[in-house]
Every structure is written in structure tokens, then in C-alpha cells.
Symmetry: C2
Subunit: 494 residues, 2 copies
């Protein structure tokens, strides 16, 4: 479709909204939903009878079960009358019942029916703060509930912070390329400038200081904008890499020297699979550095949607503030208050994520059995997927060290490029080459991936993002379908 | 506090964010929270030992219980394992269990752990559409799920729509004055122009066509902006009035002729208390009008936070589109997709709100007994409050026909105005006279109300908004405290 002329529209549209893109739920997944509906209604003719959705990190949509303990506590909090019924209480483990009572005490007499305060329940924010301190080896200064804000997923934290710091085209945001498209979408909505720093694919999507300097300078000199915010995604989305401490220290020094707020998207902190790798938080790095770098402004994001918990539907999450000046804190509180509060089930789930059963609790063994089973399965799929993709002609896939995605590099024949240009002319649209590839993959096999152009990539290179989430049988179908599809392209267009 | 100079700040702040105000959780409630904490910690010296929060429509924070049926279904959906346990199932009414199974079937195999599609569960959107058709006497054309979007409360629908239609200072939004401050906050964030139309207080906060025309012309001629959106709040917040069909028809004609999208904030549609008044939706009015007015563009908002359900914490809600052109629909879908989806507990609660137990269901009698008990109690408090406030010196309160608020007009002595100016000088801040009044009321009695200046009012008049939600004993304390406080002002400053 050609973009229709604004003049022909019946309503005035904000051009920044029109410009915003979000590929994770863009063209390919939208087409997939149409096909899914056609299959369900027995319409259309497709050479497959089901789809494999690899476009979005949505574990429980792909048969990953929820962690039992969390759901048990949640249901008692949702309906506290159950706690007054001995027959029902008898059917729950003792620590579930105790935990529900403890949380309800923290919530107060209104249970979960009232708006909370703007930043979220105090009791939940205290649990989050305690968890962060323990995770980071109690590095000083310890954090407190005052630094924690509960949010609807991680996305709303990103939105609040960007909205406060980015007032227009003079304000820039440093983002990794490839990036998670929420960032470019929010920058477009705010009329800010993206200052992309490219990750070095062949070095496992590494970050280099000189690339950061170059990106900053380019934003200033070519865009006339000053970067205000630095986005780091670790573990990487869509890249699956895990940053080393040394690189993180470089980033912190850079942010400090340029007076940037460091926004650390750490939603995959529990998803690290590579041997020898472990999660190091930007908070721990910042606070462990010498003066003045330990004063770097940092906001760290987390979510209930990823990890092993995978409770996307709850829209739970938090952000933590480190070294944030009072004038910015005030605006964050105000933005949250305009939103009234995040949803309480998400708040409760966030508190649960940060306080799993402890040794000696009735649910301790079963919780960790479930957790480790899911973790091991994700790890196995991460390893298998990268390995398999690397055997497909024209594919090169960096190791999936963490997160939930592989982002393979796909070499495509020149003739396929020409074919895409001809098709675009016929169809009156401008599909990028990898979007054409992903669309044809979908139409021929039912596999739903997101083209690399939705995340950003070095010009002339092509990628796609797939999750590692499909169960093993679906993943095998996916790999087989991609292999066959790519081999056909090589046959037909080489 | 003086607003600090931007130059002195450590971070760049978006001036539009700094300009945005949200009085419902502004100065007075923030001070109340400090006092509450001091009381809890035994600090400070306050002439009361508890607060009465009348600043926000948050029923369950003021002892309003949740409706049992909704919570029962919700807990089973949160933890579907319960449905496999016969001992637990036996403790629930049959229709609760059947409803949970039905909803879970609609949700699909992933229960509530996965992101839903961007607009919300299909099954829930179908329930909402059916409910709307029944509510509106099946006026044609019937609505369908395709017109329904599930949201985190009503607020996020407002945000999406405003963001799409308001691109900057050339775009205006017609808002009633007084208004719910979410609207002015969003306009400020988007750098749009507010085009206020004043409600006529002495005519029960009536809307007049000539006032609409004048507001529109003023926006065009004085602000250089074109109104794009018309906000109607019915039943009124903070005014508590209920519009008559004739007035609504005037509004529709006006919106049609000016090519405005009509945004109908109808979150208080179940909260109508005045004899002879009933809820008429803007949808029903639009669709019942002759050509071309039946083609007026309309988006209607609803929420689980108000009504009798009062489930604010769930952040459930929806908006419905009527006559909305495809180009706007597309942008709404995209904005929702950038947000991924609204929270699933809110979605489930919205579906429940639109499908209470039916005659013959096991929970039918008890549900309606609870519902009617709560409704009658709200109605009694609405009547009592307006009556009592009208007996206080200098007060004039329009009837609380609907919603959850009274917005009395308060006449204050000239000497009190002078006193406020002196105080402002001493304190280095600029409190409006009604903000001073509300602050001193809080400090002297623990009663938390919101000054009228947060909602907008005719220059030189003063008001405050109080909810009708405190239980009868607290409401009596509130009325007594306000009376005594106001009498003291009259004594001291007259």
C-alpha cells in the first residue's frame, strides 16, 4: 500500500504517531493472524495447518506452564474469602497460605480492589529492594523502596523516562543497533533523535567505546541533537549476547562523561545460558566503580514477562533509580500519578518474582524443580537453535548466550534482491529484502519470525529474529522449514 | 517552592512534562500521605488520628467490598489447577465454576500467562460488544468485537486517542470546565491546546450550544489551533451532573459539523442516583439521529474502576469505536501493539462487568443483593452530602445526580484572599485560594479534598471536589469538619 496522502484523511493524524513502527507486532505477525483465522474457518489454502509463532517473547503462549507457587498465592490474594474456608485452605501448601496472608497484610484492608499509591504497594517495593540488594551482593549504598517504582511491564517505565527526558528534535537517545523496537517507536512518538551505536556482530555483538564516541558525535554534528539517554540491553534483545563487566564499565564511564542517564534494560537477567557467563547488573557495576563514575545516573528495568516466570499477561515490572537527581524523580512520580497506578496483579506478581519460596518452605523443592526444569529446557533450545541455524546455507548465527532470541545473519542472492524490487513495484509497497523473506517464509511454512529491518542492522546485511521458545517438536519443524525455504531460494535465485 | 531554573538542573527535562499537572494526586494528597506516615510513626502533632481520603474515586480503599461473584471467577482463572480439585470446586457456586471454565476456554490453552493480542482477548471483546448492544436497546448498526479495545483502565484509551489526534500546538481539544485533570495533563504532555467550554453551574452544570461555538471560535482565533477532539464527561466528573438527551444531541450536531471526534467519557454510566434520570449513551444518541449526524465519529470509554464494581486496582476498561475512519483505527491498533496488551486481570474483570450472573444462575440473587445494597448506599450518601454541604455558610452545591463526586462552590472572605497572598509571599509559592483552603482543611481536620483549581472553574469562583465514597460515619466526620473549618474562616476573616 502507498502511504495515503494526509490531505485525503477524514481526521488529523499526529505525524509522529504515523511514523512510529513496531515490527514485533507489525506486518508479518499481522499477516500470520489473518492466516490463522483463515485456517480456523477453513478458508484460504495454506500448505500447513498450524502456525509457529516465533515473533514474540511470550513463553506461556508456547506451552510453557506458569510456576505453580506464584499462581497459588495470586489466587488467594484475588479472593481472600478463600482464606476463611478451612476446606479450601487445607488444599494449599502451608507456605502459600502464609505468603498470601503476609501479602494481604502488606496490601492492607482493601485487598486488591483499590488503586495503590502511584509508585505501587510499599510492601512490594520493599521486597523488590531487598531482592536487588541480595542479587548485587549488598554493594553499597543499599537500595530502598524509595528507589523502586512498580510498572505495567517494563514498557511503561521506558515510556515515562523517555517522555520526561526527550522534549523534541534537539534531544537524542543512544540506542544499540540492532535494538528492541519499543525504543525507536518511543523516540518517533516523542520526535526525538535516535543516535544508533552499532553492535559488532562478528565479535558476538560486542560494544566498543570508539563506536559510542562516534555515534555521540554524529548525533551532535549531523542531527544537531544532544543525547540525553543511553539505552543498554543486557542480555541483548534481539542479539542474545551477554555483556562482560569490562564493557559495562566502558559504558558507565561514557555515560558519566557525557552526562547521560543510563537506561539498563535488564529484563532477561535470569535468562543466561552460556557456560561461564553470569548476570552482572549495571547497578552493581556503577556502584563498584571509583568516584566519580559511581555517581552515574542509572535507571534499571525489570519485568515479570521474561525470565523463567514468563507471566507476560500480568504486565508486571519495576524500575529502580540509582543516582537520579531529585528534579527527575519528581517528574517520574508525577508521570506515574497521571497514570494512577500500575495494575495490582502485576504488582503482586513482581513481589512474588522477587521472593520465591525459601529453603524449608513447603513449596521450596517443587518450586525449584519446576524452575530448573524450565531453565534447562530453555538452555537446551538456545544451544540447539544456534547450532542448527549455523548449518543452513547462507546463515551465520552468533551464540545465544542469553535472553530468548537468535538473530541470525542471512546472506541472500542478488537475484532475490532484484525479485523483491520487482515484486515491490507490482504490489505498490516497499518491503525490505528481509521482510520479503520473512513474509514468504510465513506463507510457505507457517513460521512467524520478525525481519531484521524491524530491529536495525548494518546496511546491506539481512537478519531475522526468532525466539527460542517453541517446544522442541515445533522448533524442529521451524528449523526444517527455514532450511528448506532458504535452500529453495538459493536454488531458484542463484 | 519557586520553580527552579532549568539551567540549574542536572538533567534535561521535557518542558511539557514539567508543565503537566494532576491535582487528584497533587499537592494536597501528597501532603496527606506525609501526615499519614507521621501519624503511623507517632511523629508530628496533628489534631486528629486518622485521615479521610475524599480526593479520589477509589471505592474499595474506603471499605466498599468487592462483588463476590467477580472475585470468585477471577481466582479460578488465575489458578486453573483449582478446577481440577473436586474438594475446592465443591466450595464454589456452580455458575462461578461454569463461568471460569467458559472464560478459560475463551482464553485458550495458555490461561492468563501470555500476552493477549494487542486489542485484548477476542472472547472478552465479544462479551463487551454484546453488553453494549443490550444496554443501548439494540440500536442499529449493532456493534461487534472489532470495535472494542480492552485497555488498562479508561486512562490509557484517552492517552492513545489524544496522542494520535494531537500533534502539537495547532491541534486543540475541547474540554468541559470543570474537567477531570487527566485531560489537561495529556494536552500539556502533547503540547496541544485546550479549548475550554464552561459548564453553567447554576443550571446544574449545563452545556449550551452557544458556549461550544464560542469556545471553538476562541481556540481558532486566539490560539491559532483547530479543535480535533471533543471531550464529554457524562455523568460529570467532578460535577456529578447527568446530561439530557437533547443536550447530547446538540453536542453530536456540533461535533459532526466541526468534524470533531467525540470522546465520551462514560465511566460513571452505572452511577446515576437522581430520580427520573437514566444513563443514555452517546452511542445510542448518535446512532438514533438522522443522517448525517448518525455518522459522527465517536469513541466511548468505560472502566472497571467505577460503577458498583469499583475494581480500580485491576486497571480494566475498554473503548468502543463508532464511525471511526480506517486510518484512525489503524493507528489505534498500532499504539496498542506498541504497548503489547492491557493486563489480563483487567481484561477478565471487564468481561465479568459486562456479563453479571443471569436469572436462574446460582449467584444471581446474591449478586444483585450485593449490587443493590452498594448502589442504595451510594445514592443515600450522594443525597445526604449535597444536602449537608448546602447548609454550610458560603457553600452552594448542585445536586449529585450521578458519578461519585460533589463539587460545591465556596464563597471565601476577601480578607482570607489577602491572607493567602501574604502566606504565599512568606512561603515563596503560589497557592490558589482554594488550594490554601484545602490545605488548611487537611492540616486542621485530616479531611483530604481536591481544590477546584485542579479541575478548572470560572475565574474568581472557588470550589473543591469531594467523593461521596466515605462510609457514613466518616462522611459525617467530614461534613462536620468542613462546617467547623468554614465557620472559623468566616469568623476569623469576615
Amino acid at each position: 500500500m502507498f502511504r495515503r496522502s494526509f490531505a485525503a484523511l477524514k481526521v488529523n493524524l499526529n505525524p509522529r504517531v504515523v511514523a512510529a513502527q513496531y515490527a514485533v507486532r507489525g506486518l508479518i505477525p499481522a499477516r500470520a493472524d489473518v492466516i490463522k483465522k483463515e485456517i480456523a474457518e477453513g478458508k484460504g489454502s495454506h500448505p500447513f495447518d498450524s502456525l509457529v509463532y516465533c515473533n514474540i517473547g511470550n513463553p506461556q503462549s508456547l506451552k510453557q506452564p506458569p510456576l505453580t507457587f506464584f499462581r497459588q498465592v495470586m489466587c488467594l490474594i484475588d479472593n481472600p474469602q478463600m482464606l476463611e474456608n478451612k476446606k479450601i485452605v487445607a488444599e494449599f501448601p502451608a507456605d502459600v497460605v502464609a505468603r498470601a496472608r503476609e501479602f494481604l497484610k502488606g496490601i492492607g484492608p482493601t485487598a486488591t480492589g483499590a488503586y495503590t499509591n502511584s509508585l505501587g504497594y510499599d510492601f512490594a517495593r520493599e521486597i523488590v529492594a531487598k531482592h536487588i540488594n541480595e542479587r548485587d551482593g549488598n554493594v553499597k549504598p543499599l537500595t530502598t523502596a524509595a528507589n523502586i517504582t512498580l510498572t505495567d511491564g517494563a514498557s511503561s517505565g521506558v515510556r515515562f523516562l523517555m517522555q520526561i527526558l526527550i522534549g523534541g528534535p534537539k534531544d537524542g537517545v543512544m540506542i544499540p543497533i540492532p535494538q528492541y523496537p519499543l525504543y525507536t517507536a518511543q523516540i518517533a512518538l516523542l520526535d526525538g533523535k535516535a543516535a544508533p551505536y552499532y553492535l559488532r556482530e562478528k565479535e558476538g555483538w560486542g560494544v566498543h567505546s570508539q563506536d559510542l564516541e562516534a555515534a555521540y558525535s554524529k548525533c551532535v554534528s549531523e542531527e544537531g541533537a544532544t543525547p540525553r539517554l543511553f539505552v543498554a540491553i543486557n542480555p541483548g534483545n534481539p542479539t542474545g549476547n551477554v555483556l562482560d563487566r569490562k564493557v559495562m564499565e566502558d559504558v558507565v564511564r561514557f555515560c558519566h562523561d557525557k552526562k547521560l542517564v543510563l537506561l539498563a534494560d535488564e529484563v532477561y537477567q535470569e535468562n543466561i545460558y552460556a557456560p561461564g557467563k553470569k548476570f552482572v547488573s549495571y547497578r552493581e557495576v556503577v556502584l563498584s566503580m571509583p568516584e566519580p563514575y559511581n555517581k552515574t545516573m542509572l535507571i534499571s528495568l525489570h519485568s515479570t514477562s521474561k525470565g523463567i516466570i514468563g507471566e507476560c499477561g500480568r504486565r508486571g515490572g519495576y524500575f529502580e533509580q540509582v543516582n537520579i537527581p531529585e528534579e527527575l524523580r519528581e517528574q517520574l512520580v508525577k508521570m506515574c500519578s497521571i497514570n494512577l497506578c500500575s495494575n495490582v496483579n502485576g504488582q503482586v506478581m513482581t513481589a512474588l518474582m522477587c521472593s520465591p519460596p525459601k529453603k524449608g518452605d513447603a513449596s521450596y523443592e517443587s518450586y525449584w524443580a519446576e524452575y530448573n526444569g524450565l531453565f534447562d529446557s530453555l538452555k537446551a533450545r538456545a544451544e540447539l537453535l544456534a547450532k542448527e541455524l549455523n548449518t543452513i546455507p547462507g546463515f551465520s548465527c552468533q551464540p545465544v548466550q542469553g535472553a530468548m532470541y537468535a538473530f541470525p545473519n542471512v546472506t541472500l542472492p542478488e537475484k532475490y534482491r532484484q525479485y523483491n524490487e520487482e515484486q515491490n513495484k507490482k504490489e505498490g509497497r516497499q518491503l525490505a529484502l528481509d521482510a520479503r523473506w520473512a513474509l514468504e517464509l510465513l506463507e510457505s511454512s507457517g513460521i512467524v519470525v520478525v525481519p531484521g529491518s524491524g530491529f536495525g542492522q548494518v546496511d546491506g546485511t539481512w537478519h531475522f529474529r526468532t525466539t527460542i521458545l517453541p517446544p522442541m517438536d515445533q522448533m524442529q519443524r521451524m528449523v526444517k522449514a527455514i532450511r528448506s525455504f532458504q535452500e529453495n531460494i538459493y536454488k531458484k535465485y542463484n
